[in-house]
Symmetry: C3
Subunit: 384 residues, 3 copies
C-alpha cells in the first residue's frame, strides 16, 4: 500500500527465519538494535494541542515522556526519575499544572522545557551537582506536524532516512495544519514485524479486505501499484478501474459508503483522485495514508515478542471537523474495519510461525517492499 | 497400570533432578530431543471418520495438521504456510470443503493428499519453483486404528519401539474396528513427565482413587500386577481378589457401578475378566486401556514446562454405541473421576518440585516402570 | 524509619543499575545468593500457638513448611516429599492431626519433630535405607518470639548479623510475650529491593504519607532521625515537635486518631514517648516497629522479579487484646493505610526502572540506610 520504486517483479527471496517472529533473544536484540536507534513516531502535533499537555509511550516496558512546554516547545525524556528510577508521569496522556515535572515519589522537580533538575527534596549538601541529574533527554523531531523521538542520541533526522517510501506529491500538503478527529487503539497478538509485512503487500487484500477491495479495484488484482506488472502501460489503457488505480467509480475517499461528504483535501485533490490514496511509511513505527478527505496515521509499538500496541489517528482539515453535517464515523468505521481485518490476519500468521526446525518463508515478487524491510532489518541489526 | 516385565522389586533408584520438572531450558531440550523424535499420538481413526475431516494438535506452540483426504488417506503437515508462515487451519477439528488446503492469509493452495503447492495468488514468474514449496510433510502412521505422527523424518515405526509395555493379548483385538463414543479434554498444571510417572505406578491408588481401588482390589495393595512381589504364586492361591487380580466380584468393566450393561469386548472377554484391564502405552504421548466393554485412549501433549493438555477418547464396539439402552455415561463419568483425581495428584507433585538445591527424588521398587521411563528419557536426550 | 548509626549526611552515592530491579538473571542470582543464605522471617510464635499447627511460605516458588510439634518444639522443612517431590502441605496454614506429616500423594509419613521418614507405602525391601530419606531439614531459630528460617545449613544466627539496625532499648521488651491480634497480606508489583529502599528513607513521607507525617512531625522534614542533620543539637531545643522527634502532641501510638485507648507497652513507655516508634529490621525479609500500644511486624517475600508478597502481623500485650473496649481497628486501619501508600509508591518506582541503557539512580545523603543495604547486597552476592 505504498508508492514503490520501479520493480521488475520477477524474483523471489528467502524470508526471515520463522523463529525470529517469537524468539525472546531476537526480540531483545531488535529492541536494542532497531527500536533504540530509529526514529519512533509518537503522535500528530494536534494530539498535544495545549501547552503543558503530555503523552507517554512504552517501547516494550520502557516508558518515554513527550510534552509540550509552557511556551509550546516539545521535549521528550526517559520517563524515569534520576533519583531512584520512579516513573514520573503514569498516564498515557494528561496536562501538567505548571512547567515543572514533579516525581510523584520524592518530589524531585525538573524543568519541563529542558529536563534540568530544579530541586530535590533533600537537605542541601556539598557533594551533589544538580546539573548532572537532569532527566535523560531523548531526541525529538517534528516533521510536518508529526512528532518522532529517537532513543539514540547519535541519529540525525532526514526525510530520506526516516521514510522508506516517500511519495513526493505529499510535499504539497501541510500536514501540520491538520487536526486530530479521532483516535483508536488495539493490542494485536503478533510480532511487530508481522504487522509490517502485512502492511507491505496486497496479496492478501481480496480475501482479507472484501470491502476495501471493492473500494480500490486495483487491490482485487492483489497489487499495490498499477505499475507492478511488466505490461502495465498497455493494461492501463483498459477502462476497467482495476488497471487504472484510484477508487471505484463514484467514490471519493476511504469511507464506509465511499462518500467524502463534500470535503476534499486541498492541493492534492487531483492526485488522490488518480491514485485513490497516498502512503508514506517510517520503519519501525508508523505509516500514514492520505485519502480524499482525511489522513490516517497508524503507530506500531512492540509490547512483547508476540504482542504489539496499535494506535490510529484520523486527521482532518479544520473546516471538515467544524462542519456539523460531516459524519466522522463514515471514515473511522471503515478504517477500523480494515485494521481489525489486518489484525486478525496478523494473529493467524503469528500462530503458524512456531517450529523447532529452521523453517523460513519465501517472499514473492509482489512483496518487494517486505524484501526491503527485511534487508533494512538485517542491516540495522548488524550496524547498530 | 501396565503389564510389566518380570521384576524382582528389590532395588531403589535415584529419580531425576527435581529441577527437570520446571526448568525452561530442560523443557526446550525435551521438546527437541523427545517430542521431535518420537511418535506422537493424534487420535483414533474414527475421530476422523469422514473424508476431508481434519484435526490439529500443538506440541508446545508448534501446530500440526492431520487430515483424511478425499479418498480416505491420511496425511500430516506442519500447520504452517510455506509462504510467510501463517497457520493454515486454526481449529482443533473440522472438515475441508474440498481436497485443497487454502491458507486463509494469501490463499496459497495445497493438495491435501500430498501437500504439494497447487497455486499461489501471485502473478506467474520465472523464478519460482512451486515444487519446492509444498507443505512440510510430517510422518504419519496408523497402527490398528491409532494415528501417530513423527516430527522427525528419520524414525521408522515399529511396535517394539513405539510401545514400551505391550500386552500381546491385545493383538487379538482389531482396535481399528472400534468407534469413538466420547472425548474429554483438560489442562493440567504439571510437567508432562509428572503425568507419566503418575500413570506408571499404583502406590498412590488407595488414597487418590478410593472408588477405583474398590473396583480393582489389587490396587488396594498399591500394585499394578499380581506378580509384583516375590511370593506372588503362593499369594495368588488366596481367594481374596486383592491377590488374584481382576475386578471386584460382580463387576465387568471400569464404570461407575461396575456393570457393562450386557456388552463385552469380543475375543478378549476371558483375558479382561482375569486381569480386569489391559494396558499398552507409548511414550511420550499416549496410553490405552482395554476394559470389559470399552477402550479408553489418553493423549498427553506438553503446553508449557508446567502445563499439559490431556485428552481422552472412549472407544466402543459399534453394536454397543448403537444399543439405545447402553448408557455411555456409566463409563465416561468413572474415567473422568479417575483422571481428575490423577490431575489433582499431579498438580500437588508439581507444586513441590521447586528448589534451589539439587534435590532429587527416589524411585521405589514398585516404580520400575518409572525407572524405565527415566532411563529412556535420558537415553533419548543423549541420542537424538 | 530506623534508628541509624551516626552519619554526617553529606555524600551521595551511585545506586544499583536499574536493570537489577527487573532482570530475570539478577533475580535468580539474588534467590541463590541472598535468599538462600540469610535468615528469613516466618511469623511470630503466637501465629503458631497450638501444638501441631503449621505454616508454609514460598520464596519465589520454593515452598517451606514450618510447624510446632506435639510437644511445642518448632521445626522447618523443605515442603517437598523425598519420594518424588510432591508438596506435603498445600495450605498457607493449618493444623496437623497428629505428630506425623503424611504426603498426600503416596502417604509417606515423617516424624513432624525431626523430619525422619517413618514409613513408606512400599513393600519392605533390602535396598532402602529409611534414615537417608528424612525431609530436608531447614534451620530454624526463634529469637524473642520471632521465628526465622535459613535455607543454608552453614549460617549461624547472631543478633548482630541478623538485624542491621538494632535499637538496643528494644532489649527491654519480651516480644515473645506478645500475642497476634491481626494479620494482613497483599501482593505488590515491585522487585523486593524496591520495597526495602522505600522502607529505608523518609524523603517520600510528606507526600506519600500525609496522615503519618501529621502523626510524626519529624517526618515532615523527610528525616527518620532527629540527628540526621549537622546542627541537630541546636535544632532540638526548638519546641516544634518536628525537631524533637516523637509523636504529635496528644498522640500516644500509631493509630487513626493517635489514641492508644489507655494501653501502653510496659518497660518502654518512656522511650516510645520520646521517639514515637522504635524499629529493628532484618534484611532481606522483615522489619518490626514498636509503637505506643502495639508491635507491627512486616514480612517481605519475593514472588517474581517484579512481585512480592507482603504480610503484616500486629502484636499486642495480652491484656490489651482481652480488653473488650479496645478497638484494634484504630491501629490496624492506620497501618494498612500507610502500607498501601508505600505499595503504590513502590509500584510507581517499578514502572520507571525499565530501560535499555545502563541507567543508574543516585542515593542522597538521607538515604544512608539504602547505601548500607546495597553494600550488603553486593557483598552477599560476592560472598555466598
Amino acid at each position: 500500500m505504498k508508492t514503490p520504486k520501479a520493480n521488475n517483479l520477477k524474483k523471489t527471496f528467502s524470508s526471515l527465519p520463522l523463529k525470529w517472529y517469537y524468539d525472546e533473544k531476537q526480540f531483545q536484540k531488535e529492541l536494542n538494535k532497531i527500536w533504540s536507534h530509529n526514529w519512533v513516531y509518537v503522535c500528530h502535533e494536534s494530539s498535544l494541542i495545549d501547552n503543558l499537555s503530555y503523552k507517554t509511550i512504552t517501547i516494550s516496558k520502557q516508558s518515554i515522556l513527550i510534552l509540550k512546554d509552557k511556551e509550546g516547545s516539545f521535549s521528550a525524556y526517559l520517563n524515569t526519575c534520576k533519583h531512584r528510577g520512579s516513573i514520573i508521569l503514569d498516564n498515557l496522556q494528561g496536562k501538567l499544572k505548571s512547567n515543572v515535572l514533579v516525581c510523584p515519589y520524592h518530589q524531585w522537580s525538573y524543568n519541563a522545557s529542558d529536563g534540568s533538575l530544579l530541586k530535590t527534596s533533600s537537605k542541601p549538601n556539598d557533594d551533589f551537582d544538580k546539573s548532572k541529574y537532569g532527566l535523560k533527554k531523548i531526541q525529538l523531531k517534528i516533521w510536518n506536524g508529526l512528532i518522532f523521538i529517537n532513543l539514540s542520541s547519535k541519529k540525525s533526522f532526514s526525510v530520506k532516512k526516516v521514510f522508506q517510501y516517500f511519495d513526493k506529491t505529499i510535499s504539497k500538503l501541510d500536514i501540520s495544519k491538520f487536526e486530530l478527529g479521532f483516535t483508536w487503539t488495539k493490542e494485536v497478538k503478533c510480532n511487530w514485524k508481522i504487522y509490517w509485512e502485512n502492511y507491505s503487500e496486497c496479496l492478501h487484500c481480496p480475501n482479507i479486505h472484501p470491502e476495501l477491495s471493492k473500494l480500490v479495484p486495483l487491490y482485487q488484482r492483489r497489487l499495490v501499484d498499477v505499475k507492478d506488472v511488466e505490461n502495465w502501460k498497455i493494461l492501463k489503457k483498459n477502462s476497467d478501474p482495476r488497471f487504472q488505480g484510484g477508487l471505484r467509480k463514484g467514490a471519493d475517499t476511504w469511507s464506509s459508503d465511499g462518500s467524502s461528504q463534500g470535503h476534499y483535501i486541498k492541493n492534492l485533490q487531483e492526485e488522490i483522485h488518480t491514485k485513490g490514496q497516498i502512503y508514506i511509511s517510517s520503519w519501525p513505527s508508523m505509516f500514514l495514508g492520505v485519502y480524499g478527505d482525511h489522513i490516517r496515521v497508524v503507530r506500531i509499538l512492540p509490547l512483547l515478542n508476540d504482542k504489539i500496541q496499535l494506535t490510529a489517528e484520523w486527521l482532518f482539515q479544520n473546516e471538515t471537523l467544524r462542519d456539523p453535517k460531516y459524519d466522522i464515523k463514515n471514515v473511522t468505521d471503515f478504517g477500523i474495519l480494515v485494521m481489525k481485518q489486518d489484525a486478525d490476519a496478523c494473529e493467524l500468521n503469528q500462530k503458524g510461525v512456531y517450529n523447532y526446525n529452521n523453517e523460513k518463508g519465501v517472499l514473492m515478487p509482489e512483496e518487494y517492499i517486505i524484501k526491503d524491510f527485511q534487508d533494512w532489518l538485517r542491516r540495522s541489526i548488524k550496524l547498530n
